[in-house]
């Protein structure tokens, strides 16, 4: 499968997914760490993809949604943003709502 199709499938199949350096348990970058932590604190399950373990995704993700940096958070197939945006949404309470809505959509389907 083409790498962009693979990414498309990942963001569509998972209501919440983060592309990050490392894993939520063992993050390899401060920005990825903080972002994954904010998602964890929303209290729902989320998928993660370690871009350091998948060079093809590492190389091609920036052109998928025209976003040049990592981490990247997708909710219901749409790019939410990187670290700064995700944290800002977390701090004003919107992230939790978005994550919970996405999780509810999945369990309903």
């Amino acid at each position: 499968m083409d790498v962009l199709d693979r990414i498309k499938q990942q963001v569509e199949e998972n209501p919440v997914v983060i592309y990050m350096k490392g894993t939520p348990q063992l993050p390899q970058c401060g920005f990825s760490s903080r972002t994954a932590q904010a998602l964890q604190e929303c209290g729902e399950e989320f998928a993660y993809i370690n871009v350091l373990a998948d060079p093809e995704i590492f190389q091609n993700l920036p052109r998928f949604a025209d976003w040049p940096t990592f981490p990247q958070v997708y909710i219901k197939g749409e790019l939410v943003g990187g670290c700064d945006i995700t944290l800002e949404l977390f701090q004003n309470g919107q992230l939790k709502t978005m994550v919970q809505e996405a999780a509810a959509t999945k369990s309903a389907s």
């Binding site: 350096k21 401060g30 760490s33 976003w67 040049p68 940096t69 945006i85």
Partner: protein, 105 residues
């Protein structure tokens, strides 16, 4: 021109900035001393009025496309309109510490 001044010039030339901080945070990271790899921007400008965060970051990413692609490794970005900035009491969040995972770029 060093990377930091290049970033400043591009942002000033392309946006109506009323407050701009370009902070080199590379010395908090796993790179040689004197590097220009990790930056933080605090950008206050009324071009952001009516734009969500994603659109604001996209606008800046476009202006700094060459830097992001070829010169720098990380760019933290805090974007405000003048009224949001006043509500924030003119304080932007701190960047996270490095965890050492990537030396490329």
């Amino acid at each position: 021109m060093n990377v930091q001044s290049g970033i400043e010039k591009k942002l000033i030339d392309n946006l109506n900035t009323s407050h701009l901080e370009v902070i080199n945070e590379s010395n908090n990271h796993n790179v040689p001393a004197g590097s220009e790899s990790h930056f933080k921007l605090v950008l206050v400008c009324d071009d952001f009025e009516g734009k969500n965060l994603l659109a604001r970051h996209r606008l800046v990413n476009k202006i700094l496309e060459d830097e992001l692609k070829n010169k720098i490794h990380a760019l933290a970005m805090h974007t405000y309109t003048n009224s949001e900035w006043q509500q924030k009491n003119e304080n932007a969040p701190k960047s996270p510490p490095c965890l050492g995972g990537s030396k490329e770029g």
